[in-house]
Symmetry: C2
């Protein structure tokens, strides 16, 4: 039995700061102790209160840092790692021109094996400990990804993309093969270690009704896997879906007809949703993955966060690499803030960090396993350096925050100006999984 402790300022969430005041949703210890036993949180509290009980315990001390639960990225594409920042197109043309040719490379298992560790390294370097990932259409890409995440003991959710039409030959499966391959992957990987599976039709336009029906069949046969797809990202896409499925009431209705809209369904984007569609997602207890850097990069539009939250829809934050422009959940939250500002909405630093941690866990129905430091949860966490660059050093000259107001201000500086450099260390199940080397250019 291994017991370890981590001492620093420690922040997590015990409730939703969108519905409760910060004082009831934020848990913060300016000098805290996180005790981990065999990778599981044993206790969290003020160092002063716990120090006697755990005297003599091996303790990693991070003064002037901040410990937070690991980030949860609710929508990201493994095979698009190398093609971020592709120029000049909006969604449908971008897929055709840039994305599909790159995804083709992932039919080669050796290539997948080369990129998987790079992808996982990027997640960890940015403090992301759990992600909901689209692999490519090729089962090899899922195998490579799970092999690598399993090796790192990460709680990762992924799935093989299903797409049997409106895509180049070299990327198409069939309704039948996608069903069989997905099923085999579920049987092999779902609940193996910390891996979980998501049935992943790319989006309505690239699936025949038969394939969508097979996706629904998989959800029936394996009721605890996820459904992960795109929804209503771009105006032209929505128009196309209407053409392709003339009998459906709406884009959401297309998925609904095949039994794909449920409490374990995660829909990325939702920028163009109608009122009726918002209501349906709320009723079905589905989740929206808000992808801010992608929505601006591809010019898709401004996601109506206020509408989703007020409609009681679960929302998480997502990078959407490679339509998104950064693996960093700080930069993602920064863009989310800007999108709300442009709509005269509000997104507080605590709300943003909730979305990236406990909110994401709830969206995945994993709040009993990850998302905060309640005893019994898996000890995935990050150590944040609030002075990771010269400009952040100047901005955050003050000592460790002692009030929620000071903490909120510090978090906001990290959201707006932080990047991978702000992640000093990432821990998976209490074990060091990534550590930043000290930059020689740092001010102190």
């Amino acid at each position: 039995m291994t017991v370890k402790a981590f001492r620093s300022a420690i922040l997590d969430f015990v409730a939703d700061p969108f519905s409760l005041p910060e004082s009831d949703s934020v848990r913060y210890f300016p000098d805290g102790l996180l005790v981990v036993e065999n990778g599981i949180v044993k206790e969290l509290g003020a160092y002063e209160q716990l120090q006697n009980r755990y005297a003599g315990l091996e303790t990693a001390h991070y003064p002037n840092h901040l410990i937070l639960p690991g980030f949860i990225d609710l929508h990201i594409h493994f095979p698009q790692t190398e093609m971020m920042a592709a120029y000049g197109e909006q969604l449908l043309e971008w897929l055709e021109k840039f994305t599909f040719p790159v995804e083709r490379k992932f039919r080669d298992k050796a290539y997948c094996d080369r990129i998987a560790p790079i992808f996982i390294d990027q997640l960890l370097r940015n403090g992301t400990t759990t992600a909901l990932v689209l692999a490519a259409v090729f089962p090899e890409s899922v195998e490579a990804l799970f092999e690598e995440s399993d090796r790192r003991n990460m709680r990762l959710i992924a799935g093989k993309v299903m797409m049997d039409r409106n895509a180049p030959d070299f990327l198409r499966d069939t309704a039948k093969s996608s069903y069989e391959e997905s099923k085999a992957l579920i049987e092999k990987w779902h609940n193996k270690g910390r891996s979980l599976y998501a049935v992943t039709p790319r989006f309505a336009p690239t699936s025949t009704p038969e394939q969508l029906a097979n996706a629904g069949k998989l959800l029936e046969e394996f009721p605890d896997v996820y459904l992960h797809t795109h929804l209503s990202e771009n105006v032209n896409e929505v128009a196309w879906v209407k053409e392709l499925f003339p009998d459906s009431q709406s884009y959401v209705d297309v998925y609904d007809q095949f039994g794909l809209v449920g409490a374990r369904s995660i829909f990325a984007h939702c920028v163009q949703l109608t009122e009726v569609e918002f209501d349906r997602l709320s009723e079905a207890k589905s989740t929206i993955a808000f992808c801010p850097t992608s929505n601006t990069f591809l010019g898709s539009g401004l996601f109506n966060l206020e509408r989703a939250i007020s409609g009681n829809i679960k929302v998480g934050l997502a990078t959407d690499v490679g339509g998104g422009t950064s693996f960093s959940m700080f930069q993602t939250a920064s863009e989310a803030y800007k999108i709300t500002q442009l709509q005269r909405q509000k997104l507080s630093p605590f709300q943003a960090m909730f979305l990236a941690t406990l909110g994401g866990a709830r969206a995945l129905s994993l709040e009993n396993k990850i998302g905060n430091f309640d005893a019994g949860k898996e000890a995935d966490f990050i150590v944040i350096d609030p002075r990771s660059t010269p400009i952040l050093s100047l901005r955050n000259q003050a000592e460790t925050p002692t009030t929620l107001e000071e903490l909120s201000d510090r978090l906001f500086s990290l959201i707006i100006m932080g990047d991978d450099r702000a992640i000093q260390a990432t821990y998976i199940l209490g074990e060091l999984a990534y550590q930043k080397q000290r930059s020689p250019t740092e001010y102190t």
Copy 2:
């Protein structure tokens, strides 16, 4: 006499890529040589062609890097360096709540002296060699800034903010004192070394008509100084200006009435301009400083770049720190791209880099001194590392671009994913002014 050479891939612009094809506006040498004599560009060409003529010359070689003219930041606030990322407000409330209290500190010369080198370091670290800077209302802040930029031999333009109403007592000058103090600063600093002066009324709401008239008087007395102010950033601001100046036709007209709209006038933001106002700026040959990260951060809106360009208005890029969220012109260009995408407009990588270099120089009527590598120009330039982070290393695995298409793609990756780390070195008048230390975490 000192002659030095710099060998690398070298890019600059010889014309405007908004009006001419890339092949006529972009100058690129995959293996180039830049020869500098006493801080002035002597010659630029292909290494192969020039090597014999300059054999034996001291040559700094940067393989796998890219040399570009130094960036020009067309609008930035020196006293807001430490208050970037202030939460939750839009323009007018943001000024009142966050900005004014911080600017108060700059009445103390010792404080100005402490922050000035940090500010200049941030510019250089991000590859910015020329900036148009608002200091605070206190002449001390201008003194400190020019003393520091002069010490670094930088071509910097700055001015004392003029504001005699609608601001706290502790930040107000008077029409008379602002005139006298500005005049004294002009006489001391304008054209001293590389320093240039800008008459700088903050914006119409914080100046009485009398003060604006005095600004106009300064422009008459010193016809080669600049006029630098804010214009039409935020909807509430525009409404307020209408209230304050009921006899004016428009916001632009307020400035026009006092003789402030001319070919050496730079107006920041211009997000809410009417057609008539765009036309007037075009006619007057005035410049717009496009401040993308500030416009999204403060929720001001989406600048209509296409309208400005098609109206033949000079445009430059600006960080607008501290309303802006980064000192990096890459991140600024990235946000500019996203703003155009959201409006279904285009901004190519070459166009963006033109705005940040030669375009900025033209906007400042300094194209005879800076902005590209024509012989006789001041040798301010930057060395860019296209593989400055692991994700950029993956993205830019290929060798040095040999075609404009490859180069455009590489530039775009830097715009979207680059930051201060992409700046390997910054040279002022051919002398090393900043050099990045190699990060220990870098992939190679």
